[in-house]
Amino acid sequence: MTLYDLSIEEAHRLLKNKEITSRELTQAVLDRIAAAEGRIDAFLTVTAEEALAQAAAADRSIAAGQCGPLNGIPVALKDVICTRGVRTTCGSKILSSFIPPYDATVVSRLKRAGAVIVGKLNMDEFAMGSSTENSGFKITRNPWDLTRIPGGSSGGSAAAVAAGMCLGALGSDTGGSIRQPASHCGVVGIKPTYGRVSRYGLVAYASSLDQIGPLTRSVADAALVLKGIAGHDPADSTSVPLAVPDYTAALGVGIKGARIGIPREYAASEGLDPEVLAAVEGAVRTLKSLGAECVDISLPHTKYAVAVYYVIAPCEASSNLARYDGVKYGFRADDGADLIHMYRRTRSQGFGAEVQRRIIIGTYCLSAGYYDAYYGKASQVRTLIVEDFKKAFEVCDVIACPTAPTPAFRIGEKIDDPLTMYLSDIFTISANLAGIPALSVPCGFSAAGLPIGLQLLGTHFGEESILRVAHHFEQAKGLFKKRPVLSFTC
């Protein structure tokens, strides 16, 4: 039995039956990190000592009869999520020494549930990117092919879960940053409904789009972690005061009669790889064989989603990132003669190219004379995208489409062409604009052996429906049992 490859569900059962301890499990994961990190480069910080202490505490509470589903389970966090006393960099040099004085709400909830936090994961700087190449620290590699990107911006999270360096991870998703890397690394990733999970302690990128969610090796695991982190939080005024359903119980219901919407625009999308299209069409046939019905739907405005996003997200980012000024925390350039020079040098030396590019675009689009033409117009087209989904969900329960237009591309392939990089989010962005939940579940492999993801989108607070469809699909295909073969062992 390879402990680090267990699902959360299996590990929980073994912990509960006292067949293993959390210390053994955590040590196996830490050993795996030590063996794999040199090739994968998924972690920015490994908190081995704290993790073993948390594991020992979990073992004591399990011995005392407290065995919640996450108690004693080793997980890791994208480094955009604040951890009290543990460095949180956002993948940026400007925060390379930042030690948060508080835990994000999701971290408090995981700790309260007994989860063991093994470290902080690499990401594109401030979550801006689709390949994790924009990290200010290092490039994470895809466990299925070390010459390829793991996706982004939660690339460290997806790679770590795929490579057995944690049993589950949290990521954040502003335009696809959980789902696209999940798709590229052959794991499950869910972006919950906007407002389902507290953003308190999530370093802000684009506040009307950001949402935290789990990456795991199975849909059932995603349901467990989501249940653990979701729910209203008075510290986040955009979190919604609704009861959180039992997502695990929702998986038990079959999908006979479920109406799956197939957007007619997507199959003809420019840049959609034929292998991805074939895998997704195969997935739809599997859903039909499970009793689901397919419905033809139209989302005519989603072709504008990337353009809308690359106005709205940089606008919000230019405002959110104004706080990095070298005064209260983070890096300060030491040669500023006066305050304005200090600000400018600090920000130019502290931020990488993509972050500076988006700050300039956002500042430009919000500046006098351009606001209506860019931000105003994009916000109106956003309304049309929201309305497309409303209409579609009148005739279907869940929408199915690809997660990413291609399998993982090569490291360096798109880094000098930001616009081409942006287009890798073409299928994921509209869910953030509309605030609806969406997940990626592995649905096949390319001829070269790279994972392909099926994306399922649901109605606001309809996580149960997409999880249920994904779970039955996953069980039917059995793909989640396939793991990347790494040329080293531990």
Binding site: I99, G195, D338, I360
Partner: protein, 95 residues
């Protein structure tokens, strides 16, 4: 939509960024490409369409105005690049 080097420098100043000579040209080209792509939004008829700033119809969330714990001064200052006498220290602001 083309963006000139001067515009990039002006906007960078507004955003308190200092862009080097070699980067300005590259940024102007890349940002011009992105804005040209974004210009396709002009094709969409949005007459009378309300803008969306948040996907959920959220209203202000209020709480009772009660005294609360806050971050102690030492912890608030702990990450400051420079501090003095319990305050954040910054370079000279006025001459």
């Amino acid at each position: 939509m083309k963006i000139t080097k001067e515009e990039v420098l002006h906007v960078a100043h507004l955003a308190r960024l200092e862009i080097g000579e070699s980067a300005v040209e590259r940024f102007a080209g890349q940002i011009g490409d992105i804005l040209a792509y974004v210009d396709q939004l002009k094709q969409v008829d949005t007459a009378g369409v309300r803008p969306t700033s948040h996907a959920l119809a959220l209203t202000n969330a209020f709480r009772d105005d009660v005294e609360n714990q806050h971050l102690p001064r030492e912890e608030s200052l702990a990450n400051a690049p420079q501090q003095e006498d319990g305050n954040f220290l910054v370079p000279k602001v006025v001459g």
